[in-house]
Symmetry: C2
Subunit: 183 residues, 2 copies
């Protein structure tokens, strides 16, 4: 448990939760279970979420997949996966953020987002990008980002599938752009 | 050597060249040498080009990195790397295309692009995406795509670095969108 205080602008740490950024083999199953439990993601998307954990365990920090886990009583309440984008100076991507369904609405997602932004900024991040779907099922997701300072930068129609476009959001971070350019 | 006829709209096969889509261990060094020789790419970008070949050798077609090599007398004249984008139905990405400097202007790039588009279309590809830099050094690259039917879909200012934005182009392919959704 690193349990560092919240340095982002995303709000307070929810009561009873701690933050961990060390990735363990048991996270493979725990992340799969959590992402599946949200009910939002298709099986192949759950597979991708799990693969990012496996890739991180296999290649370490150099994988480019960095994690923060929110835990209470040793159980995962939510997590986020982010990292520096290869071949860029200070651009980061938020690959994944998910909160256990029965714990949503308590500010855990906001806390994780703030943590990720603060940590990326300390690591030289100038800008955080996040990509999501234009489908109605992701309305709440898009509102979540818009509420927390993310601005739509692009819309790629039919990117995910016919009628399912990709929306790219970004938000400025505090970093100086001195993150390593390729990890 | 597959040496298949050109099925794209990218023009004829340049005299004396054959196409190969099987990836060999010797391609790791050959791709690095070719990409380096273009003089356009920074060392960390050359590393990424090489890593895609290594990833393909390690994980096969499931890596999502598919290749076509243009060869004459057993020497690589140019190559392209493309593949289906995970979690999409029929969207493909052209990750890399490069032609040996002393062989540029002979239609090799156009031939490779047409081959990649035709092959992606046969594999269910609906749309090909390509990302490039907004910097002046990439003016010719952007003109190349625009000349071959690519339309700018998005511009992300300062994406690669301050003053170095990302331009996203796309072009419709003939595929029906029945490509495997996640490889």
């Amino acid at each position: 448990m690193s349990g560092v205080p919240n340095l982002g602008d995303g709000g307070c740490r929810p009561v009873g939760l701690e933050l961990r950024d060390v990735v363990r083999p048991s996270d493979v199953e725990a992340v799969g279970e959590l992402v599946r439990a949200t009910g939002v993601f298709a099986p192949y998307e759950v597979d991708v979420a799990v693969e990012l954990v496996q890739e991180r365990l296999a290649r370490g920090v150099a994988s480019g997949y960095w994690f923060v886990f929110a835990e209470g009583d040793g159980r995962m309440a939510g997590y986020a996966c982010y990292g520096p984008i290869a071949c860029t100076v200070g651009s980061f991507d938020l690959y994944w953020i998910a909160v256990r369904p029965n714990l949503q609405g308590l500010g855990i997602g906001r806390w994780l987002l703030g943590e990720v932004e603060a940590r990326a900024g300390r690591d030289g991040g100038r800008r955080m990008y996040v990509e999501t779907s234009s489908r109605g099922a992701y309305d709440a997701t898009r509102r979540f980002y818009e509420k927390h300072g993310y601005v739509q930068e692009a819309f790629l129609a039919d990117f995910y599938a016919p009628g399912d476009g990709k929306v790219i959001y970004s938000r400025a971070l505090g970093g100086a752009g001195d993150a390593i350019r390729d990890v």
